[in-house]
Every structure is written in C-alpha cells, then in structure tokens.
C-alpha cells in the first residue's frame, strides 16, 4: 500500500543517483519494506510464481527463436533439429512447452484465489481488470506459440480458430470472410499466417510484461488483499515484504519448480497431443481437433452453442465477463470464507469449470453436448445471476474485527476497537493459525 518512503541513501553515489533516477528508492520501498498483510496464505504465492514463469518463458523462447524457422516447409523440422542437434535444445523446448502448461496452472489458481477472496472488489478493480487483460494476452500468446510447431494439431487449431471470425458474415455479409483472409494473409492458412503468428508470438510476452508492471503497480497502491478480506487497520498487521514474503514466495516457487521439473524431465509429452508430432497436412483433417488442455473449458462453451456467431460470442464473453465481476458481485464482504451461501456456488463454479474442461476434450454429441450446455448455462448464470443475487440476499457470517483478531483469536491492544467483541469460533481461529 502507499506508504512513506523509508529509503536512506547510504553512499554519495546513491544520493547522486536518487536525485536523478530513484530506482533504488522504488525497489527499497516497493519490494523490501513494502507493508504486506501478515496473514497471506500459500494461495498468495502464485503472483511470484507467475512472474518467474513469464521470465522463464521469455528466456527459453528467445533461445528457441534463434533456431526456429517460421516457414511451412521448415517449421516442423526446425523444431526437431532443436530437439536433436541443438545443445540442450530438448531441454529448452520441453521447458517452453511444459512451461506454457505450468503457466496456466498457476494463472488459474491465481485467478480462482482472487475470486474466492474477493480481491477484485474496491479498491482493487483496476488491478483485477489488468489481470484479466493479462489472461487474454496469455491465451493469445499460448495459442500462437502452439501453432508454431506446425504439426497437424497446430495447423488445424489455427484453421478452426481463425475461421471463427468468418461468423461475422452473419452480421455483415462478406465482413467475416474479408477479415479471415486479412488474418491469414491469403486464402488459406499458409506461409504468411505462420510468419505473422511467429512475429506476434515474440511480441506479446513483452506486452504481457508491460501489463504485469502495471498490475504490480495497481497492487501496490491499495496493497494486498488477505484471506480475511478485511482492510489492514494497523502497522502491527503487516510485515515488511522482505524477508517475510521473499522467503515464503521463494519456498513456494522452488516447490512449484520441483513439480515443473518433474514433468519436463519425466513426462514432457504428457500434456501434449500425439497428432502434433505429425507434420501439418492441409489436405487431411485429424479425427478430433482439440486445443491444449488449458483452453478446453472455453472450447466446450464454444461448441455448446448451436449457432456459430453466438458460439463465438459466448467463447469471448466467458473470459470477458471477468472484467465486470467487481460490479456483478454485490456482496459487501470480500472473502468467501465469510459467505455461507456464496461459498457453495463458488465451489460449484470451480467444479463446472473443470467439468467443462473434461467435456471440451470429448466429442460434442449425445450426453456430452447436453452436459456441456448445462454447465455453460451455470458458468454464465454464476456471474450474471448468482453473483448479484446471492450478494444481495445473503447474510454473511460475522467478520473478525481485524486481521489481528482473525489471526490471534483476540484483539491486540493496539488494534482498532472491534465491532464484534466476541472471539470468532475456535475452528476459524485454528485455521488462521495454520495459515501462518
């Protein structure tokens, strides 16, 4: 949160620098002494993990781009040359491919954490919107990156997804077709398409990096939310970011890297599709065209809608709707822990998202299609009906008076007087202690 600068330039050079470009002051104030709620649990460590993943993807990607050839004739083979003849090429490529999956694992946890604890609510709306923007950019980047392999699944995924724009023909005849040809740079997915996908795949991570800086900036104005969802009331309720959260985030990061490494070294193709080891063939459609696992819920939503244009609109809305949840959620309470009714709907939403992911991997026929439609209905109803209505009718559980009370089970002498004099139930107290 915004706080007085405590930076004291120690040397003549630091004073000289500080009066010209106060980077050391910013680092000191924002990353060393930055007051952070002391009760953040491990779900809060994914911000740091995501920063690491972005940097790891950029680092491995830059080296891969030195060896990759973005032409239909050579793309697939150049990837195989990276795997076979480039020093540590197999490691770079598997890290990058598995890294994309791990990036999405982390971002989905980060997103659900934000939703559970109401981190999107005032005064953090801009922070949240920037996060959704990053999600959009990540989806675009991952999609374009997957296309570069130029295997069967790459090629047909590009064909299917770019063709979605042709649905605009239903609005203005010819508009969609024109747009699709403009995107392709021709009359089918081909060399110009691959080349621009490569160009944009290289550009977007740096755009993401820029938005991430804004995201962190927007975080550092109001400061972190915390598991109670209650505002910080005194200095006693915060700890300096360093060393408390550098070490906690660091521990979580190393644990995450351990999982990441286990997949890279022992199951690198686990999350991929075998068809993408078949070179792209415009004359042969694979029996099932499926996207990477992290897009499956959205793919299920697309296919749940019988009309192409409305399917595309539903697909885009399923993510864009996240922009509006700071205003769709009418509850005054941030943390779902204190929301006895909403809690159930929230977990049903998590199950729905996973269920849609499963259905996205299946053929849209019979019961799969019906289930897909029901879950799609719940997906949107959760945002458009449940969020406003439950927030309005629900009576939240009694909130602890302060973070200190939630953590220690009583009011510290320094803290502001609590509106609820009785201590929270023992179960709650125990959980808060475990968190620390």
């Amino acid at each position: 949160m915004a706080h007085e600068s405590t930076y004291q330039p120690a040397t003549g050079f630091e004073r000289w620098l500080d009066s010209r470009l106060p980077v050391v002051r910013v680092m000191h104030d924002q990353f060393m002494v930055f007051p952070t709620p002391r009760n953040l649990n491990y779900w809060w460590t994914f911000g740091g993990i995501l920063t690491f993943m972005l940097i790891a993807q950029i680092a491995t990607g830059i080296v891969l781009a030195m060896h990759y050839v973005p032409t239909p004739e050579h793309a697939f083979d150049s990837v195989e040359i990276i795997m076979r003849d480039v020093n540590w090429g197999w490691f770079l490529r598997y890290s990058h491919a598995v890294g994309a999956s791990m990036f999405f694992v982390a971002v989905y946890i980060h997103l659900f954490r934000g939703m559970y604890y109401g981190s999107y609510k005032a005064p953090r709306e801009i922070l949240w919107i920037l996060g959704v923007l990053i999600l959009f950019l990540m989806i675009a980047t991952a999609f374009m990156g997957y296309s570069l392999v130029w295997g069967q699944m790459s090629f047909w995924a590009v064909t299917v997804i770019t063709n979605l724009f042709s649905s605009l023909d239903a609005v203005i005849p010819g508009l969609g077709t024109t747009l699709v040809q403009w995107i392709w740079g021709g009359f089918s997915v081909g060399a110009p398409t691959l080349n621009r996908l490569f160009s944009l795949h290289y550009l977007f991570p740096f755009v993401i990096f820029g938005v991430v800086i804004l995201h962190i900036w927007a975080l550092h104005v109001p400061g972190n939310n915390n598991p109670t969802g209650i505002d910080v009331k005194s200095d006693k309720e915060t700890v300096p970011f360093h060393p408390y959260y550098t070490i906690k985030d660091g521990f979580a990061l190393v644990a995450f890297i351990l999982l990441f490494a286990a997949v890279v070294f022992y199951a690198p193709n686990w999350l991929g599709h075998p068809d993408n080891y078949v070179p792209a063939n415009p004359l042969q459609t694979p029996p099932h065209i499926v996207p990477e696992w992290y897009f499956l819920p959205f793919y299920a939503i697309l296919r749940a809608i019988p009309n192409k244009l409305f399917g595309v609109i539903a697909l885009l809305s399923s993510i864009a709707i996240l922009f509006f949840i700071p205003w769709l959620d009418t509850s005054k309470v941030r943390s779902t822990s204190y929301r006895p009714i909403y809690k159930w709907f929230f977990w049903a939403f998590v199950v729905t998202s996973i269920g849609l992911g499963y259905l996205g991997s299946q053929q849209p026929e019979g019961w799969y299609l019906i289930a897909g439609r029901l879950l799609t209905f719940y997906y949107f109803a959760f945002f458009l009906v449940i969020m406003p209505v439950v927030g309005w009718i629900e009576k939240p559980r009694r909130l602890p008076g302060s973070i200190t009370e939630a953590v220690l089970g009583h009011e510290a002498p320094e803290a502001a007087p609590s509106p609820s004099p009785s201590p929270p139930p023992a179960r709650k107290r125990k959980r808060a202690e475990e968190v620390l």
């Binding site: 060393p243 644990a255 022992y266 159930w344 049903a348 019979g366 879950l375 220690l408």
Partner: protein, 278 residues
C-alpha cells in the same frame, strides 16, 4: 437473509449438483459403450527398458531394431530426420564409428550439382540423412497402391500409446472376424484404428537374420523395432532421465532448505505474538 430464501438456495444447489453429477455419471458410463469403428482400440502396455523414470535404452535391442528397420521397414518408410551419425551417438544403438561408416557407405545417395552442373551418386557419409526409399510422395503412393507409408522419424511420439501401439500394430495382423468386410488391398489389424490397414503384414518369423542369438520371432522383431523407433523419436531420453535425477535431487534439497529458512524467518514473528498474547 431469511430462512426460506436460504432453503431455496440450498434446494437449487442440491438440485443442480444432483443433475450435474448424474450427467457426468452418464457421460462416463458412455465410455463403456462399444467403440465406434474409427476409434483406436485399447493398446496393451508393454514393459520397456526405457519406460521407468530412470530407464535407459538397451543398445543391443536398438541395434537389432535398426536391423529390422533397415532390412524390412526402410523399403517403404523414410526416416528423414535421422542421420547415420546418430546410430553411433551416446544414448542410442551406439554402433562403433567404423560400423556407422560401413552402414552409411552401403547406401548410395544423390549429391551435387558438380562443376558440370550434374547430380551424381556417391556412397553416404555418417553426416548424411537416412536415404528415403522414394524420391517424392507421388512415387511412394504409386508404389504402394495409393497409400503413403508415413515417415517413421517421430512415429513413436505421433501415435497414442507410442511404442506400445507400434508393437501392437506389428503383432496385430489376424484374420478378419466373421462378418467384417475388408476392402480390396486392405488388411485386417487388431490395433489399427478402423481395423483396416493398407500395409501388408511386414514381419514374420525368420525374415531378419539376427546375429546375436536372439530368437528370430515376429514378437522379438516387433519389440526391437518399436524400441528402435522410440529412440529415433526421443534420442535424448537417456540424457533427459539422467539430468532429471540430478535436477530433482537438487530441488528436493533446495526446497527443504527453503522451508527451513522460511520457518526460521517467521519464527520470530510467532514468538513476538506469543509474548503479546501472554
């Protein structure tokens, strides 16, 4: 919130949960239904030396597998991503440099153009890519009744089941069950999706002469060539497994140290809390 509205909400949720569970249940139950003809049949998983996390290739098996490829498969199937030098590299069949040079030298490849502007034939060198049996796709199709024998370089990663699938396919030829109509020029195969494959049974007992005493059976040929194709698709597997063990060991120690460091740093805060609350 009133009691009745809570009850309403609970009923709504309960209903939704039961509905979605039963839907999911029926979705899973569908898996047991008889498979449509275009779905891949269940592939039995085999035991491979390279299967376990610390597994390695069996060099002798890869050498035999290469022999099967060279004597049988390579008549129709290319492996354009491999070079003869790969046969001598660590973590593969590991033929001796002399053997690699001999194997390459037995093959004539097209080179050029020379000073006169003409293409010419010369014996292959270890640095050359494997020679493809057909100069282009049309020639390959023409020689195979219209079917294209796929390149085998990454075949072991390009099919669900990988080497298990290749083994199942090569040993999966059988007489078609009664009532199953096999089209002209096609062959019945238990493992192939749709059960009709253009490739005639490529292997049978005794077609490849092993020199190391391994029994010359269809089963051994299929197993060895599947292992060989896995190596061809994943030539750095041994390096990956070895490096992975070191990396994971390092990370396990690192994560333990980080955990202890985290505990130590936060302990002071917790001690202070204890004093304050005492």
């Amino acid at each position: 919130m009133t009691l009745s509205s809570m009850r309403l909400a609970a009923t709504m949720m309960g209903g939704a949960a039961v509905l979605s569970l039963s839907l999911l249940g029926s979705a899973f139950a569908k898996d047991d239904a008889p498979e449509p003809a275009n779905h891949a049949p269940e592939i039995e998983s085999q035991s491979w030396t390279f299967g376990a996390p610390f597994g390695t290739y069996d060099n002798a098996q890869l050498q035999r597998g290469f022999q099967v490829y060279k004597d049988v498969c390579s008549n129709c199937h290319s492996m354009r991503l491999l070079s003869y030098r790969n046969l001598g590299e660590p973590g593969g069949p590991e033929f001796s440099p002399k053997a690699v040079a001999t194997l390459a030298g037995q093959v004539q490849v097209t080179d050029g153009p020379n000073e006169k502007g003409e293409m010419f034939q010369r014996p292959a060198r270890p640095a050359d890519h494997f020679r493809s049996p057909f100069a282009n796709e049309q020639l390959a199709r023409n020689a195979n009744g219209g079917a294209l024998p796929p390149d085998l370089s990454v075949m072991a990663k390009a099919r669900e089941g990988g080497p298990d699938y290749i083994y199942a396919l090569l040993t999966g030829y059988a007489n078609a069950p009664a009532g199953f109509d096999v089209a002209q020029g096609m062959h019945y195969n238990k493992a192939f999706p749709g059960h009709q494959i253009a490739m005639p049974p490529p292997l049978s007992d005794g077609v490849v002469s092993y020199t190391d005493g391994t029994p010359k059976t269809l089963d051994n040929y299929a197993r060895d060539v599947s292992a060989y194709l896995m190596w061809a698709a994943e030539p750095k597997l041994e390096e990956r497994h070895r490096t992975g063990a070191r990396v994971l060991l390092f990370l396990v120690v690192f994560v333990a140290i980080m955990y202890l460091a985290k505990r130590t740093v936060w302990a002071k805060l917790h001690r202070d809390d204890a004093t304050h609350t005492a």
